[in-house]
């Protein structure tokens, strides 16, 4: 299972988006924590690894922001901005900006379930961040 952090803006917070996606994709989505009020909502959920891509896509299609909290860490001292990682990212979360610096979009990153870029980095500047024990405990509780 993979943890995803869902953010719903004020405009869409009243829509039953999670239920819709569960029914449409027939994927079990496990809600770990939820904080919802009139200003918006934030939900930490678990989805099966193999369904991650389509679930993330479905939430984004409906206007929710999806992120996997701090799953990748870039050592900027080690990174030489070669760009070897760019095309390995299945969701194009790594790009090269105008001055040829490599930029990581942490919001988009799928984290440890993907990690396709990690072993492609020649200077080993990319690290998959392990979940800390309290988070693991939270996951195991379900």
């Amino acid at each position: 299972m993979v943890r995803i952090l869902l953010r719903f803006s004020e405009n869409i917070v009243e829509e039953p988006i999670i239920s819709q996606i569960i029914i449409e994709l027939k994927v079990p989505i496990n809600i770990i924590t939820a904080h919802v009020d009139s200003k918006g909502g934030e939900v930490l959920a678990e989805v099966p690894d193999e369904a991650l891509k389509k679930v993330v896509k479905a939430f984004r299609k409906r206007g929710a922001t999806v992120s996997i909290p701090k799953l990748i860490e870039i050592d900027s001292e080690k990174c030489v901005s070669c760009g070897a990682c760019i095309t390995l990212c299945p969701i194009e979360a790594i790009t090269m900006d105008e001055d040829a610096s490599v930029v990581f979009n942490q919001e988009k990153c799928l984290g440890s379930t993907c990690s396709a870029c990690v072993d492609a980095c020649p200077t080993r500047a990319i690290k998959s961040v392990k979940q800390n024990s309290s988070e693991v405990a939270a996951n195991n509780a379900h």
Binding site: V80, C82, A120, T123
Partner: protein, 505 residues
């Protein structure tokens, strides 16, 4: 006469004149990227008048790099026979205490993660490294073992001595196989899902002087953050195909880890990223035109690294402009492309070299001998035959999807094979059935072939070396590979039995 002399003077400029301008602070320097813009906007004549030197730069993995170090004599002295620095074997091929640290030699404890390139970076950064050495002992060098810690300050000489650097341009790599491969061109996803390239294109040093008019033995260059020298052409120098290379030397004690980085290519090995820049003196208008070369005029081939042969298929021709844009087109497909070298650092090198020259800290040299322009890079002469899949494959025994398990079982017995290849009406591969599958089907009472056939088949190509096919069988723990062509048509089958027969011969 006077007028003629004047005009000839106008059309030419000497290195001495440029150095005089550097001395007096009047030199005009542009980076190669700036030069191209100037020539485009103001033309060759103006650019020649205004520019004395164009600086270039590149920062990429250069495997044929290393450092020669002299560690001084121990007491009692040792004639080193074998030596390791931080568990990386270093080469001893001289008298007693000279060692060559090769960038691609890997650590015995952390292979693929730490190697010679990292030792060079660590030493350059001022870190302490551990030297272990052993010897057979002689009357004059009695010691047989030594272990000590060293920093660059403890070394007598620490010179970067790279025998092939700075390729003029390089291939763009893709992978046609069904699996991800890890190469010196990085991680290549299956079925042409990504591409990689290397090189700075229009910023590349040799590309800005492709006839090596100003580059050769003795050319002073930017190397690893300090001044170094070209000492000749590099190995595999291939000028006629625009794959020129250089051999270089520089004092590593003065270098900076920003421009000299140990690197690891997963499942390939370790290497060294080298930062290198060459100043091109603008001696005539011809050099203005040469340094005006743009990325769209520099082409390279898209090469299929999925084919493990010396001559790999070339699938397309692309320009460095396309490569730097992030995607290329092969046939009707758009493929995302990654750089392995750092354009950002290449730009920084060209900029740094420019400021050194402007500040009077760097003077140009004329080469005492130019790089060859007509030498040829030959393939290896091979006196022993190599086996390919086509040499050992046999006719495949086939079946169709509609057949019954019983019929397949009989075929396995009558033809005495262990593998039946399933094909469609046009002979294309659709699956494979083994005698083990049949045994299991009978035990479980299954009668339909469709229920037991393996549809994701691991295959081989006829022109593939037998060694890689055999490795693939071991990797997937299987005993045969159907041999197919590019259209998936079954040409035959190669079995582990056939391979061992040949190797045991």
């Amino acid at each position: 006469m006077e007028a003629l002399k004047l005009s000839s003077k106008k059309n030419k400029r000497t290195i001495e004149e440029i150095n005089e301008k550097i001395r007096t602070g009047n030199v005009q320097v542009l980076t190669a990227e700036e030069m191209k813009k100037l020539v485009e906007s103001s033309g060759v004549e103006v650019a020649f008048k205004e520019v004395d030197v164009v600086t270039t730069g590149t920062f990429g993995a250069m495997c044929s790099s290393g450092a020669i170090i002299n560690v001084g004599h121990s007491d009692p002295p040792i004639k080193i026979q074998k030596a390791w620095i931080n568990d990386v074997e270093v080469c001893h091929s001289g008298a007693a205490v000279d060692l060559y640290v090769g960038a691609t030699v890997m650590s015995e404890r952390q292979p693929f993660e730490y190697g010679g390139g990292h030792i060079i970076e660590d030493l350059v950064s001022g870190k302490e490294v551990e030297l272990k050495a052993m010897a057979y002992g002689t009357d004059c060098y009695p010691r047989t073992q030594v272990k000590t810690n060293l920093t660059k300050d403890d070394l007598n000489q620490f010179y970067l001595l790279n025998f092939r650097n700075c390729y003029q341009r390089y291939n763009c790599a893709v992978n046609s196989r069904d699996e991800t491969i890890y190469t010196y061109m990085g991680k290549l996803l299956p079925r042409l899902k990504n591409a990689t390239f290397s090189g700075a294109g229009e910023l590349n040093p040799l590309m800005n002087d492709p006839d090596y008019e100003t580059i050769g033995m003795g050319t002073r260059i930017f190397l690893g953050g300090t001044q170094g020298y070209v000492i000749g052409e590099g190995t595999q120098h291939d000028p006629q195909n625009r794959f020129g290379t250089i051999m270089i030397r520089g004092d590593a004690k003065k270098m900076s880890p920003e421009f000299l980085r140990g690197a690891s290519f997963t499942r390939y090995g370790t290497t060294l990223y080298v930062g290198l820049g060459i100043p091109i003196p603008i001696l005539n208008e011809g050099l203005v035109k040469k340094t005006a070369i743009r990325d769209e005029e520099i082409f390279t081939n898209v090469v299929d690294y999925g084919v493990p042969r010396r001559d790999r298929p070339k699938l397309a021709k692309v320009s460095y402009k396309e490569l730097k844009s992030g995607s290329i087109t092969v046939g009707d497909r758009r493929i995302r492309v990654s750089s392995l070298s750092s354009l950002k650092t290449a730009r920084k090198i060209a900029g740094t070299l420019k400021s050194w020259i402007e500040n009077g800290e760097f003077f140009l040299t004329a080469p005492v001998e130019r790089l060859p322009v007509d030498s040829v890079f030959k393939p290896m002469r091979q006196t022993e035959e190599v086996s390919f899949v086509a040499n050992v494959m046999q006719k495949a025994v086939t079946c169709s999807e509609t057949e019954a398990v019983q019929a397949i079982a009989e075929r396995i017995v009558t033809r005495s094979v262990n593998h039946i290849v399933m094909v469609d009406g046009s002979g294309k591969l659709t699956g494979i059935v083994t005698s083990w599958d049949i045994t299991r089907a009978l035990a479980q009472g299954k009668t339909a072939l469709a229920d037991i056939v393996t549809r994701r088949v691991i295959t081989a190509k006829p022109d593939e070396p037998l060694e890689t096919a055999s490795k693939r069988m071991a990797q997937h723990n299987i005993s045969a590979l159907p041999v197919i062509d590019n259209e998936k048509k079954v040409l035959g089958i190669v079995t582990a039995e056939d391979v061992s027969k040949l190797l045991g011969r």
